[in-house]
């Protein structure tokens, strides 16, 4: 490939500055109220340097890690989708005039966004969203516009959280392509891989030195070590098994533990569902239509004439798991899950989708034979 240039930089600070100089708004993980969240940063000072996250089902804590390390943490609390597919978005306004009403689409606010510190799995999630909302999918104008104004600086993971399982779907812990730049944090600095012309242009502006063969080897060794830290896995037979097991007794077990709170879908970097809300004002002369994030855990999600179809928690949990892991293949040719583990870590009751998939993939134990009579 044309962009194999490798270089070493000492710190991400000049990179953040160069991106800002070039007019990019830099979005990166920052620590806020005990969690990593995505926010616009002004300088590398705001990065959660020396901090790590400990994630387990239903519990995430941020604590001190190795001092000075920039990127030993893993994932922010929710996916990057909010910057591409916003939680609330005004579709149009309508004003009543003398001859009917006039529709107005709000002028797009065009911002060039640089995603700094996006992880390989989350980059893969954007590719999944492209299939759904991009030109080959529903061609969501807002999504496609924002997508054209996005740049990615991937960080190749040096640690995996207990909830990570990207090695199964093959979305991490190393991204091979699809980024503008990728960083691996070595002992001697940050190894920069160039993935695009644009990325090469940015690297040119940074104080850097050439990477040695051993630096590249070290980066690959880090990725292998990170992959080795992962314990969870989706059973390969999950997709087929789930699609064929709508009556598996395990669904009842899962439903009995699930709050139907929707957190899993909302933090998931590939869940894309939205609803539309119409508003009018008191004069009745102005109306607006908004697109808002929805979730298949809402009862209203399956509302058809006379009421919702999926009233039970069982049916809603089944919809989520079935769509993510099985019917997504039918729609888009891939799994809807990229293995980030957020739905496990950020589920308030700690339901683990890998365990759920495994239980469904296991054949249901045969019902006890009738004992005469």
């Amino acid at each position: 490939m044309a962009f194999q240039a490798h270089a070493i930089i000492d710190s991400p600070a000049p990179l953040v500055a160069a991106l800002k100089d070039a007019g990019w708004k830099v979005i990166a993980p920052v620590e806020r109220d005990g969690a990593l969240v995505l926010a616009a940063i002004q300088s590398a000072e705001e990065l959660p340097r020396g901090r790590v996250d400990r994630a387990s089902p239903g519990e995430v804590r941020i604590e001190d890690g190795r001092p000075g390390r920039w990127f030993d943490h893993t994932l922010p609390a929710s996916g990057w989708k909010r910057w591409l597919h916003p939680p609330r978005h005004l579709l149009w306004r309508a004003n009543r005039g003398r001859d009917g009403f006039e529709l107005k689409t709000p002028p797009p606010e065009t911002e060039d966004l640089a995603f700094l510190g996006i992880r390989p799995c989350d980059l893969a999630a954007i590719a999944r969203l492209d299939a759904v909302l991009g030109p080959d999918g529903s061609a969501d104008t807002e999504y496609m516009r924002r997508r054209r104004h996005m740049l990615s600086v991937v960080v190749q993971c040096a640690r995996a959280a207990d909830t990570c399982f990207c090695t199964g779907p093959g979305t991490g812990p190393r991204a091979e392509h699809g980024f503008d730049l990728a960083l691996t944090e070595l002992e001697i600095g940050l190894l920069v891989e160039v993935g695009s012309e644009r990325g090469a242009g940015i690297l040119e502006r940074l104080p850097s030195r050439e990477a040695r063969e051993t630096d590249i080897e070290e980066a690959h060794a880090i990725s292998r070590k990170t992959a080795g830290m992962q314990r969870r896995r989706l059973p390969p037979s999950a997709a087929a098994a789930i699609a064929q097991a709508p009556d598996h007794p395990e669904w009842d077990q899962l439903a009995a533990r699930c709050l139907a709170c929707g957190n899993c879908t909302l933090v998931c970097p590939t869940c894309f569902c939205t609803d539309v809300e119409d508003t009018t004002d008191l004069s009745g002369d102005h109306a607006e239509r908004w697109q808002v994030w929805d979730s298949c855990f809402a009862t209203g999600f399956s509302f058809v004439h006379e009421g919702p179809v999926r009233t039970s928690v069982r049916s809603r949990y089944r919809q989520w798991l079935t769509h993510k892991l099985a019917t997504w293949y039918d729609q888009y040719g891939t799994s809807g899950c990229i293995g980030c583990g957020r739905c496990i870590a950020w589920c308030p009751v700690g339901i683990d989708l890998t365990a759920a998939a495994e239980a469904i993939a296991r054949p249901a134990s045969p019902s006890p034979a009738p004992t005469g009579g």
């Binding site: 709050l259 929707g262 009862t299 308030p348």
Partner: protein
């Protein structure tokens, strides 16, 4: 032109906070005064016109025999009756007396408790008369109230969320306080509408928008118990703003 919609606002046992949510809506209140006829709103105006009213907004819970007669009169003379706030929809914080000895409270507070003429219980409006719509919250959200009035004016159904607070919390970009800090939070079982005010400042939800229909608080309680909440704390958690809402009353009693 058709006659403007006649609006009446009523107060029962309450703190006036929901009426304030209406009064505080600023310019919108002025617009409202132009769009509808405010026929009765004692907190805002001394002119109190007789019924019938097209829309009665009722704040407060029913706590005296006189309240019962008054709410019936209001119902009979209102085309639509909307109960607003935790008091009117679930008995409010004062419904804590439903599970205690109200007489003992009165004796502890008043030198002459015998002059009080109150019922043993504080109950929601819907226990006494038919209610067309309930607006949740302590206090209600003024945006939701305006949504109800504008929907009525334009002849459409109001859009009120039937989803947990978690949805609003995640749309706003707040990480879950329960997961990130182990903070007890009723968000997963509470109706959305407030915009996740409490999690926005790192607090758990106290459930002031009332139980989400169909939610299962027992699942949440089990998790909170694992996080170290004692039975008494669980009872107290469900016994606050919407203590008398059946889902809360039941869950609170289960841990007593």
């Amino acid at each position: 032109m058709t006659a403007p919609l006649r609006l009446a606002v009523w107060k029962f046992a309450s703190c006036d906070g929901c009426q304030l949510a209406l009064l505080e809506s600023g310019d919108l209140l002025l617009e409202l005064a132009e769009a509808v006829e405010i026929a009765h709103f004692a907190e805002a105006s001394s002119s109190m016109r007789e019924g019938p009213w097209d829309l009665s907004l009722v704040e407060g819970s029913i706590t005296t025999a006189e309240d019962i007669a008054r709410i019936r009169h209001i119902r009979e003379n209102s085309r639509l009756l909307v109960a607003i706030g935790a008091c009117a929809t679930a008995g409010g914080i004062q419904a804590l007396r439903n599970v205690a000895d109200a007489g003992a409270f009165a004796a502890a507070v008043y030198p002459h408790p015998e002059i009080l003429d109150a019922l043993e219980t504080s109950t929601p409006v819907s226990d006494h008369v038919a209610v067309d719509l309930e607006l949740q919250g302590c206090p209600i959200s003024s945006a939701q109230l305006l949504e109800v009035i504008t929907a009525l004016l334009s002849g459409r159904k109001p859009q009120l969320p039937v989803e947990p607070v978690c949805f609003e919390c995640k749309r706003a970009g707040h990480p879950c306080v329960l997961v990130a800090n182990g903070t007890p939070c009723l968000g997963p079982v509470t109706t959305a509408g407030c915009g996740a005010l409490c999690p926005a400042v790192g607090r758990g939800c106290y459930g002031c928008f009332g139980p989400l229909p169909g939610a299962v608080p027992a699942v949440l309680s089990q998790r909170l118990a694992e996080l170290g909440l004692h039975r008494a704390e669980l009872t107290a958690l469900y016994r606050s703003f919407a203590a008398a809402a059946p889902a809360n009353a039941e869950e609170a009693a289960r841990h007593e």
